[in-house]
């Protein structure tokens, strides 16, 4: 557990701005959901925006750390789309 915490702390310290952006986007996503209650289309749009942002974040982050590869981007895209389809199944 000590190793894990050390790695997490190191990773966050190294890319503080990137993770702050991701956390802020996540909080905004939750806040946005509160305002969009009552409309499934708008709720799904909020999920779509957040997942799209997550893919863009991945591209930006790996570009900044000079580790941008097609394989890396694909990982973010696949996870984002899995989530989108699962939420689509719940909402519609």
């Amino acid at each position: 557990m000590k190793h894990l915490l050390k790695t997490v702390t190191h990773e966050i310290k190294k890319n503080l701005l990137d993770y702050l952006i991701l956390l802020t986007a996540g909080i905004l996503f939750i806040v946005l959901l509160q305002f969009l209650s009552g409309s499934k289309i708008l709720l799904f749009t909020a999920v779509l925006v957040f997942t799209s942002f997550y893919i863009l974040w991945g591209i930006y982050h790996h570009a900044m750390t000079k580790t941008l590869r097609f394989k890396n981007v694909l990982e973010y895209v696949l996870i984002a789309f899995i989530i989108l389809f699962l939420i689509e199944a719940i909402l519609f």
Binding site: M1, H3, L4, K6, T7, V8, E11, I12, Y19, L22, L23, G26, I27, F29, I30, L33, Q34, S37, G38, S39, K40, I41, L43, A46, V47, F50, Y54, W57, G58, H61, T67, R69, K71, N72, L74, E75, Y76, L78, I79, F81, I82, I83, F85, L86, I87, E88, A89, I90, L91, F92
Partner: protein, 296 residues
């Protein structure tokens, strides 16, 4: 036994045989999850055609009735009796909202909730209405009402003796919508009915001093026959979503933990970022399930 252990090691932990990344997180496996998710979505939609409502909700009149009475019992109030006429009125109100495309207690043409109640043949001394739309679960609907002072007041009003519900699906403002209509009432007693025959309709006794029924901003439920499917596909899809996300979070955590212990440096996607993303998605799903709707 060794084979099983080897499989789990290969699947969940990074090692030299899986290029130092848990196999469950490899692209081919992630692609498989995507295909499975897609198949689930389409198969659920296909099967759901034969479901009760055809819409992705788990709201039922029975459950709403049970939960409403449960709230009353908790507050030492007598349980309400299910009334078919009030349910018919609620159903007609729901259909009227879809037909005239509005979401309000009063129709654009001025039609009031009590018009539907009287139209169903229910002569009332007190009446009230709660509306809700686009909730996913019956529990969330009742919780939504109980969290609103005016709706709560309707549910816990001791004057009411009867209740009717309708859950209606349709298209409102271009969006597939599930409306829940709840109508409360107390039938007109014989004594009051006698007086009523001698007074003009606009001066009839109603639920409040203004001579109008009490209208609460709560959802209504349509009176309809419920044929419960053996397997609730909506619940199943929600459960599977939770299971999948928790499984993915676990694999990410195990992979991250082992990689950090072994001090492996990798160039792949960031587990920590995936983890943060999935945690927010989980919070979002929980919010959607519990509070996705509106009450009126």
């Amino acid at each position: 036994m060794e084979r099983i252990t080897g499989f789990f090691r290969h699947f969940f932990t990074p090692n030299e045989n899986n290029n130092y990344r848990a196999k469950a997180l490899h692209h081919d496996y992630l692609s498989c999850y995507l295909v499975i998710a897609l198949l689930l979505v389409f198969s659920f939609k296909k099967v759901n055609i034969h479901n009760v409502l055809g819409f992705a909700t788990d709201i039922s009149v029975n459950k709403l009735f049970e939960l409403t009475n449960s709230e009353r019992t908790k507050n030492n109030l007598p349980a309400l009796t299910y009334n078919e006429k009030l349910s018919e009125a609620a159903y007609q109100k729901g259909q009227d909202m879809f037909r005239k495309n509005y979401w309000a207690h009063y129709a654009p043409d001025g039609k009031a909730p009590w018009d539907f109640i009287l139209g169903s043949g229910y002569q009332y001394e007190y009446a009230g209405e709660n509306l809700a739309k686009n909730f996913l679960f019956s529990r969330a609907v009742v919780d939504g009402w109980m969290n609103s002072a005016s709706h709560k007041q309707n549910i816990l009003r001791s004057d009411y003796t009867d209740v009717g519900f309708a859950v209606v699906n349709g298209v409102l403002n271009g969006e597939e919508t599930t409306l829940v209509v709840q109508m409360f009432g107390k039938p007109l007693s014989n004594a009051v009915a006698q007086i009523k025959t001698e007074t003009p309709p606009e001066e009839q006794t109603h639920g409040n001093a203004a001579g109008h029924p009490i209208i609460n901003n709560q959802p209504m439920v349509l009176s309809q026959k419920e044929t419960k499917p053996k397997i609730n596909l909506f619940n199943l899809s929600v459960d599977m979503t939770y299971i999948f996300i928790f499984a993915l979070l676990s694999v990410l955590l195990i992979d991250f933990y082992v990689a950090s212990r072994m001090k492996i440096i990798r160039l792949g996607g960031k587990n920590l970022a995936h983890f943060i993303f999935l945690i927010f998605i989980l919070a979002g799903i929980s919010f959607i399930i519990s509070r996705s709707g509106l009450i009126l």
